[in-house]
Every structure is written in C-alpha cells, then in structure tokens.
Point group: none
Chain length 271, copies 2
C-alpha cells in the first residue's frame, strides 16, 4: 500500500494519545510511530523505555514519521504518563483475572470518537513486547480492549496492535472529516471510480445492444429462434452488471466493429 | 498483546489465500506470515520473490508461524498464482485511473466471509514493498480494497496491510465459528446469485482474455502499440467487473468466434 502526499498537513486534529509502557526495542517504538502516522495519531508517550531515549533506531524505523518520534515525551512510571487523561484503553491479548469491561477494537473506535469529539483526553495503552501489561498497569485503565485473534497464535507485534487501534479510530473519523477535506472525500468513497468519464446512459447502453445483436444475428450466433430470447437476455445481463461508462460503451462498439469488419478484409480473400 | 495457546489447532478452516506479488525482503514475507497466523489465514502464495525462495529471514521473522512460511507456494507470474481463484481483492493505497469498484477493508471482510462460506476460493493480493501493484496486476483483481488512511502518511508496511485484511476477515468470523457455519452459507448475503452454474475461475477468464485479445490484434483493434496496454486493461476491467460465470465465459467466447468466423463466410465473398 504505497502512496503518500507529503504536501498535506500531518496533524489532523484532536486524537487519542498512544502510551507505550516499558517498550524494549527502539525499532518497535519507530514502527509504532509509523502506524500512528498512518491513522492520524500524533502524540506518543513512553514509560521508561528500556534502551534509553532518544533512540536512533526508533527514528530510522519510523519510515519518516519523525515528528512523532521527536515529539515523544518520556515518563518515569505509568501513572505519571496518564495523569492528565480522562479515559484510558488498555490493550491486552490475555484475559485478566479482574473485573473490568472488555471491548473489541471496533467498539473502542466508536467510543473514542465520541469522547474525543466532546473534548475528553483519551489514551491507548500498550505493554512491553515480551509480556504485555501487568495487572497493576491494566488496573489504571478504564477498559480492556482485546481483538478477536486466532487463539492458537495470539501474539501481536506492538506496532500491529497500535495499527489496529489506529485503524479503528480513523475508520469512521475519515468519513466525517471527508465532508470538509476534499482529499479524504476522494479517498473514503467506496463504489466505482470513474476517472474522466461518466456512467453510460441507458440510451447509449441500448444502442450498443442493438449494434451487438444485429451483428450476432448476421453471424448466426443465436442458433435457433427458440434459444434467441434467453441468449440475448444473458448477454445483456452481463453487460448491465458491469455498470459501463460512456467511454467503455464506445470501446465495446469499436471492438464489435473491428471483429466483424477486419475479418472481412484480412481473411475474406482466403475463402 | 502477548499470549498464545500453543495447544490449539493452527488451521481454523477455509480462509482467503494471501498472494504477495513480487515481494522484496524476506523479513516482510515473514512478518506477513505472522500477521496471517494471528487471524486464521494459512495459505500463502509468492509471485517471483526478489531474494529467492526458501528464505531463511522469512522463517525467522515469522515469529513461529513456520507452517505458513514452509507451506508457501511460489509462482513465476501473477496470473499463474490466481488461476484457480474465483474472486480476488487487490489492496492499494493509491487511487487508480481505472474503472473498478473500490471498497473498504471492512466491506471486504463482509464480502469474503459470504464468499468463503459458499465455497468460493478468494485471494487477497498485495504488491511489492516499494510501489505496490502495477495497473496490469490490479486489472486481474475483481475489486480494489483501500483503507481510509491519513492522506499525508499513507504508506502502510506490507505485513500491516495483511494484518488489517486478516483482522477484518476474522473479526466476525471468530464470532460465527462458535455457532457453526451452515447458517452463514444459508445467509448468502449480497453478491451474485448464480443458479445452475458457478463463478468462472480465473483460468477460464484469462483464457477468454487471450482469445479476445488475439482476435482483436488480428483485427487491428489496438490502433497503435502505445495505446494497446491501456485499451487492453480497460477491456479486461469491464469483463472482470461483471463477475462472469463459467457459462457466460462460454457465451462470450462463442460470441467472439461467431463475429469473426461467420463474417468470413457470409460477407467474405462479396469483397
């Protein structure tokens, strides 16, 4: 999935913070920063990174998300990193022996959009690479977020956990932003892309049908009169389904003309 | 998100295949395999991996998803890797100058669950690290999948693209696995109803393309060599979009044969 427009503003407005508790490798901090950038998250907090800070490897691994790595704030312990937050989502893969609500990343996405929209400061909390968050750390969060994963292979890389949460944050957010920013509006539109052309009118479509069927009649394609109506409908259905553009109708007509006309010219004489 | 139960079965039933077109680094193949394992994807196909195969780095980077790396099949070109597929999702970040439906990963997740439940073989297609998929490669797919990302930072690592698609595949599937799958099959959902026939395989579709393009070459339809690639892609995209059945492919081939053969017979002598 390549393709980045460097000219656009990097910061897309208020968003959840990412807090990495006791991260171990600089590379993972960098790839987490990259994943944040992909989905409009821009504030990173680190709790006692094992290999110190700043960390050159984090910068390299961020694939250009330098402003996130360079802007990261370091804290001595987790409570210090969370004091100014209103709501904290703890991501875990293991079930915990504690009474705390567990939601999916999708539910978390809905919830954080509502909270951020009403001005709350929210944080997404991720644990150390080797064994995640301690129960003590989870207890500081308001809710647990667990993705449905293959129970036989549940270990998710920290950058990938950040990616999933970022993806769920941005998924709907992009749509609402899309009403203001033309770039995003262009991005978020599922459905058919029709660059430089428009869907054909039915008149154009039926014109093509007439052309094609006349040639097919000529060519004896409809073997019997009995079969003709069904064969004709089946052909029409195929082309209707393709939701053809006006340009494509012209290509198809050109194709039919070529196939009939030229064979006359190039192969006819051999008969 | 640590935590894995090694005692559980690794293969969770029919799932989309992952096809990596011209992957460059072994590490990325490995991390993609790991992401597959997280979400119950188990079949990996590689098209002409740049650094050869097998690749020790892929095994190391897979963090234990060895069965996926070791079971990967290698193909010389993309069509060969797709011939037995019924439906292909191409993941891209950039909008393409072609007429093809664009859906979100979430919509793709819904769609693939329905297709897999009714026995179709589907593939998720990912491009090379540096610049993704070529237009030619995208043209072989049925639909484009693009995640809403920060337009200022849209480049997603290949393993992370695999992760997002796997996550969307597994998100609801995990829930339905608990209830048995016949309901899902009965649900049938959106998509094409194909009474008395089945969706064409890619082999059948590509066979039709070869036939049609040979005739069009013969007929001088592609006016200049310069225009040929685009005209060819546009034609292919139209037919791919129609999600043709095996029966329809036969009709189309019959149509092409009729248009060329018969004109020779009926009109040739008049020349």
């Amino acid at each position: 999935m390549a393709g980045t427009d460097k000219t656009q503003n990097q910061v897309l407005g208020p968003a959840p913070l990412v807090v990495l508790a006791h991260p171990q490798l600089g590379e993972n901090i960098g790839t987490a920063a990259r994943a944040m950038a992909n989905f409009g998250l821009h504030e990173l907090r680190l709790v006692a990174p094992r290999d110190g800070w700043p960390n050159e490897k984090a910068l390299t691994a961020s694939s250009g998300a330098h402003w996130i790595v360079e802007g990261a704030k370091v804290f001595g312990d987790l409570p210090a990193a969370l004091v100014d937050m209103n709501y904290v989502y703890a991501t875990t893969a293991r079930p915990r022996d504690m009474i705390k609500e567990v939601i999916t990343p999708e539910q978390a996405g809905d919830d954080m959009r509502v909270r951020v929209a009403r001005g709350e400061k929210v944080a997404l909390l991720f644990g150390r690479e080797r064994w995640g968050l301690s129960n003590e750390e989870v207890s500081l969060a308001d809710v647990i977020v667990t993705a449905p994963v293959n129970p036989a292979f549940a270990s998710i890389n920290i950058a990938q956990a950040v990616l999933l949460m970022g993806y769920e944050w941005f998924k709907e957010h992009a749509v609402s932003l899309g009403q203001q920013t033309p770039e995003l509006a262009a991005l978020d539109g599922p459905g058919l892309q029709t660059p430089d052309t428009r869907l054909a009118t039915k008149e154009e479509l039926y014109g093509f049908f007439d052309h094609l069927e006349r040639e097919l009649d000529d060519a004896g394609f409809f073997k019997t009169e009995k079969k003709r109506p069904t064969m004709r409908l089946n052909l029409r259905n195929m082309f209707v389904r393709a939701e053809l553009t006006e340009q494509e109708i012209r290509s198809l007509r050109g194709m039919v003309s070529s196939l009939t006309r030229t064979h006359l010219r190039s192969k006819g004489p051999k008969q």
